[in-house]
């Protein structure tokens, strides 16, 4: 014997904190809520309640649209334990319009070979009765068909 599987589970209570709670409650209503730093003015989403650069609380909530661009991406073609999506799929960095930081999002409704840096995308939400305080409320992002953002416009987000 070289390995023994021991199925175990652990129950815990997750406390997301004030800033992330606002973000998660926004998702439950089908909208994105970020926060602005009072010093540098950058908009974080999801916000952790403080600006890592300035070390100050980010108190001001900012409503963001569900549109943005793909800054960069990869095509995941490797199977591994715990994977919930059929390969190949696109894991992209999505920068919402008005945000100053990207987060990872799934891109669908486009062949993997057609995805581009700078491509405009929009969130596709789950059905209203399925919305919850989780990023799983966003099924994926799809291309809007609008013109790509020029590279220079998002270069600093890479």
């Amino acid at each position: 014997m070289t390995m023994l599987d021991t199925p175990i589970h652990l129950e815990y209570t997750f406390t997301p904190g004030i800033a992330q709670s606002r973000f998660l409650r926004g998702l439950a209503e089908g909208r994105f809520v970020g926060q602005r730093c009072p010093v540098c003015g950058k908009v974080y989403i999801p916000s952790r309640g403080s600006c890592p650069v300035d070390g100050v609380p980010t108190g001001e909530d900012v409503a963001l649209p569900d549109t943005g661009i793909v800054t960069t991406y990869c095509v995941v073609n490797v199977p591994f334990a715990g994977q919930a999506i059929e390969i190949p799929y696109i894991a992209a960095q999505v920068l919402l319009d008005g945000a100053n930081i990207s987060f990872m999002g799934l891109i669908q409704e486009i062949p993997a070979t057609d995805v581009r840096m700078g491509m405009r995308v929009q969130a596709v939400w789950v059905e209203p009765d399925e919305l919850g305080p989780t990023l799983a409320s966003v099924k994926y992002f799809k291309p809007t068909g609008g013109p790509d953002a020029p590279y220079e416009s998002f270069e600093e987000y890479l």
Binding site: T2, M3, F14, P16, Q20, L24, C37, C40, K42, V43, Y44, C51, P52, V53, T71, T72, Y73, C74, V75, V76, N77, V78, F80, A81, G82, Q83, A84, I85, P88, A91, A92, Q93, N100, I101, M104, G105, L106, A112, M117, P133, T134, L135, A136, V138, Y151, E155, E156, L158
Partner: protein, 384 residues
């Protein structure tokens, strides 16, 4: 003024996909005994042990340092664990070196390991987070988008990644400890390997390895062993948050700052000219050109030209990863220490077939997390 610190013993295990012949205690002891033998010492001569590995979840053994004390001769001696994700092997060596440089101890054993076959690191790196999207990308899925960004930013042609993949695997053929010994490796073989995380192919990614590395570090008055010591000329660690607005994920500030600090201590103004070789943490082929720029071996945007010119090959003017590097062996927690250890072996003239002729000053480098932890040292054959 800090005390001088010397590397007087190095030891590593054979790095393999599965070391089924040993337990974790057996694995770390194997490396430690080799380092002690190199220094002509025994456990009794050691004042303290500093150990590092990747996060506990990788093997599912919590706080393994407690149960490894006996295997490392550390019972009733000071022992310390270091945690800095993939850079931990480097940080661990630096913590040990600080214990010498500060005058606290005279001889410190430092060890790092990973036993990936006891675990599923891909799973450990991809555990769903509460309230997060059910989108997991795996180990390479985090880095591949940044590689794509580098390619776009620098205009580097596709074949650069393949060149690094071939170069490091050819170097590994000269290193009996290396995990991958791909006799027939060439550009075509890399190009035909499966695409894992487009733009990253299977042979442009590191393997999963079992293995351990160990070093004995000593104060100037405690130097021993048959080989001349490798003297620490400079050491630095830096970190930055994984996420902040305006973060340069291709060329992180923490890496640049860490390099600047270690070069200043070592009196290096032009790393390409002043160093004889470098062992740099390159787990995916494209991180060679990216780190060539981050570490100041060339101007920004030109790392790929240095790789393409052959400058980083074993017979180039600044060989990178003569050992075969992380691309050829990746016992995660030990991978950073192996870079530090290989740099020391080179300046001690004990690297055998992959010895860079006349190497007198070398860089050891490690990074980890989301390119957020950096650890580096410069070692030399001359006393600083």
């Amino acid at each position: 003024m800090a005390d001088r610190c010397a590397v007087i013993g190095v030891g590593q295990t054979h790095l393999r996909a599965k070391r089924e012949d040993v337990s974790i205690p057996g694995l770390v002891r194997e490396a430690a005994l080799r380092a002690l033998a190199d220094a002509e010492l025994t456990f009794a001569d050691i004042d303290a042990v500093v150990i590092g590995k990747a996060p506990d979840m990788f093997e599912g053994v919590m706080m393994p340092e407690l149960s490894l004390a006996a295997a490392l001769g550390a019972v009733s001696k000071p022992m310390m664990r270091v945690h800095t994700a993939g850079s931990v092997g480097g940080s661990t060596a630096l913590v040990a070196a600080h214990l010498i440089a500060s005058g606290i101890h005279r001889r410190v054993l430092t060890v790092a390991y990973e036993k990936q076959s006891d675990s599923d690191a891909m799973w450990a790196l991809s555990v769903p987070q509460p309230f997060a999207a059910p989108l997991l990308a795996g180990a390479g899925g985090y880095f591949a988008p940044h590689i794509r960004a580098y390619m776009r930013r620098s205009g580097a042609p596709d074949h650069i990644g393949r060149m690094v993949a071939v170069k490091d695997r050819r170097n590994a053929l000269k290193n009996p400890y290396a995990h991958l010994h791909l006799e027939d490796i060439d550009m075509k073989m890399v190009e035909e390997s499966i695409m894992l995380w487009d733009p990253l192919r299977y042979l442009e990614a590191c393997p999963s390895s079992d293995g351990a590395a160990a070093m004995v570090l000593a104060a100037e008055d405690a130097v021993s062993g048959a080989y001349p010591p490798a003297w620490v000329h400079g050491m630095a660690m830096r970190s930055e948050p994984t996420m902040f607005a305006g973060r340069d994920q291709v060329n992180p500030q923490a890496g640049r700052d860490c390099a600047a600090d270690v070069y200043r201590q070592a009196g290096i103004t032009d790393p390409r000219a002043d160093l004889d070789m470098a062992e740099v943490y390159v787990p995916f082929s494209w991180y060679e050109p990216m780190w060539l720029e981050n570490l100041g071996f060339c101007p920004e945007g030109e790392g790929w030209k240095l790789t393409e010119s052959g400058a980083t090959a074993l017979d180039g003017d600044i060989p990178w990863n003569a050992s075969g590097g992380v691309l050829s062996s990746n016992p995660i927690g030990a991978s950073g220490m192996l870079r530090f250890l290989e740099a020391a072996m080179q300046v001690r003239g004990q690297a055998g077939e992959h010895q860079v002729e006349g190497a007198r000053r070398a860089l050891g480098h490690a990074y980890g997390g989301g390119s957020q932890f950096f650890a580096m040292w410069v070692v030399g054959s001359d006393k600083p």
